[in-house]
Amino acid sequence: MNTVKGNEDKIDRRGFIKRMTKAGMSIAGACALGYFFHDPTGPTGISEQPLVSVPDFSMPQAGKKMAIIRGSSRTETLTKAFEAIGGIESFIKKGDRVLLKVNAAFASPPILSATTHPELIARCVELCYRAGAEEVRVTDNPINDPATCFRLTGIESAVKSEGGKLLFPKNDFFSRTSVQGGTLIRNWPLLFKPLEGITKLIGISPIKDHQRSGASMAMKNWYGLLGGQRNIFHQDIHNTIKELSMMVRPTLVILDGTTTMMTNGPTGGALSDLRNTDTMIVSTDQVAADAFGCSMLNKTVKDLPFISKAAEAGSGTTDYESLKPVII
């Protein structure tokens, strides 16, 4: 090998040790730098936090109940519906802490029926307190800016007027969850903080046409508990709704068919997208509620695969008549 003139100096032991020390420090530095840059979670950002799951809020001891009440006044039909299933006191006990999961997805006015109607929420908060609830929380993780959504939908003022506690989603409200037995909702951010410490969970949603799933009703409403880039779930929407029904076991669901969004859902926009169907559905079985609710959209269970899928997954029954619904 050729050598360059002037670089042929002898190296002594001290020099050798110095150079080895420098080389070692360089290697250690490179390793430390590599360790610093190492991303243990990879591009998907998998968290090492322990997964959470939604507690089971269903009340098997209360039996399977369902009420279908006709009428145009939400406050009246909701009250009658609770009476028909044995009174709200059968479900909400003194000292209960209740969470109402509403649909506040869009910053749109109540007349569009794209979100849960504020009158219905106000009445429900009032009835829960009257039954002895210690606290009534209301939450959702809207598609649009939460503060604007809760304000423009009228939900914020409705909740406050009845002394409810509105929980806007914040970053630290989310924890990761995986649906047991599910394949889609895996290690996914869940709006968990509002669920902590509660004893009863009620879902309240309008009945709407939905461009992707065909309908947005009680089970689809749990989509609002998901965080992250959740729109990817629209690629397999029917199985996603099935998994949502597996993820959440509510105490009750309230499905508002007073005004149904028949076309151009889930956002709608024109009053001509709506039809007065004058029906309030309250059920302990979310699948049964949707199975009946789809008739408001002139659809059947066969038209909406997620309903049968949820039933097959054990989330409820499509045979809503087996619940012997009280129809008034």
Binding site: N7, F37, D39, I111, H210, T263, T267, L271
Partner: protein
């Protein structure tokens, strides 16, 4: 033994040259630069990693401030959404737009200075092409509306105004049901059209749909996956009322007669996947090559005339379907001359 190894290593080290030092420093510098680049890049979200289509088009600068009608002022900041974020605004409806060439959505709310309950939201969808804009307009057109004449395709409802203007599809939606706010929203629509005059959509296929018995508000342009068939694109449909039957007629202009024939053949094969190859003998002999397929009690009736494929989709009544197909055939023949 150890002393010998150390001696050998020391001999190797003696061979170090200044050139080698320069090369080493260069490599280390390069590694540091790469490291810095990785460090910088990791804070940037790259949509391509998640296979979300990245916009390839130039986004047009559109300003909506100042378009509001008299007595109104901006209620919120202007917001804009692209292909990756559209669902953040309209959730499950995003696919309708994304499949039709959507580029960007610009929104803004405007509020009455005198009545805070009186506000509306302006949605401007840039659809890249006039045909795309017409498609999303037509696919969502409501029934029982009031047609407006401030542009070719426009209507209002009790609380909203909708129109397609060139590349743009616009929705203006009010928080109240009120005739005066509809007038205000129409005023804003006119302001918009004056600021952004557009070339109207060229839709020659509309002429193929006979006007008699046509429910004009039902005309739609399906850009993709017409009737569930992946190759059926650019289809105009319209609903007719004939002898009490609702009949959905369709026409699609292809690039050549050969392409029209080829599409008809492949659509026929698609139907065969469900009901087999057997076809019914048409009652009329006035349409050459007319195909009539019984699909579980509904009738798919179609033909090719020149470079047009046309027909009836899912007719409940076969006789009425064939009658309508004949009217369609005659109209296309007239225009061919």
């Amino acid at each position: 033994m150890i002393a010998k190894s150390v001696s050998s290593l020391m001999q190797t080290i003696r061979r170090f040259t200044s050139l080698e030092s320069v090369i080493s420093i260069s490599i280390l510098s390069l590694l540091i630069i790469v490291g810095v680049m990785i460090f910088y890049q990791q804070f940037r979200y790259d949509e391509k990693i998640f296979n979300i289509p990245v916009m390839q088009y130039g986004i047009r600068a559109i300003e909506i401030a100042g378009l509001e009608p008299e007595g109104f002022e901006p209620m919120s900041d202007r917001e804009s959404f692209d292909q990756a974020t559209l669902s953040d605004k309209i959730d499950g409806k995003a696919d309708l737009y994304l499949e039709a060439g959507f580029i960007q959505l610009i929104t803004g709310r405007f509020i009455s200075r005198s009545d805070p309950a009186n506000w509306f939201e302006f949605y401007l969808y840039d659809m890249e092409l006039p045909r795309n804009a017409f498609s999303v307009y037509s696919m969502q057109k409501r029934e029982n509306v009031t047609d407006q004449d401030f542009t070719e395709f426009a209507y209002s409802t009790e609380n909203a105004v909708f129109f397609a203007n060139g590349n743009y599809y616009v929705e203006i939606i009010a928080a109240l049901e009120d005739a005066s706010i509809v007038r205000d929203m129409i005023s804003m629509s006119k302001n918009f059209i004056a600021r952004y005059p557009e070339t109207p959509a060229e839709l020659p296929e509309l002429a193929y749909l006979p006007s008699e018995n046509l429910n004009i508000e039902t005309i739609s342009l399906i850009l993709k996956n017409g009737f569930g068939y992946k190759d059926f694109n650019n289809i105009f449909t319209g609903t007719y009322t004939l002898d009490g039957h609702k009949i959905l007629a369709f026409v699609s202009l292809r690039e050549s007669a050969e392409q029209a024939e080829s599409l008809a053949a492949s659509y026929d094969n698609f139907i065969s996947e469900f009901v087999g190859p057997e076809r019914l003998k048409p009652d009329t002999d006035k349409i050459p090559g007319l195909t009539v397929a019984d699909i579980f009690g509904e009738y798919e009736i179609f033909f090719v005339k020149g470079d047009v494929i046309a027909g009836i989709h899912s007719a409940q009544d076969r006789n009425a379907g064939e009658q309508m197909a004949l009217k369609l055939y005659k109209k296309i023949s007239e225009l061919e001359k």
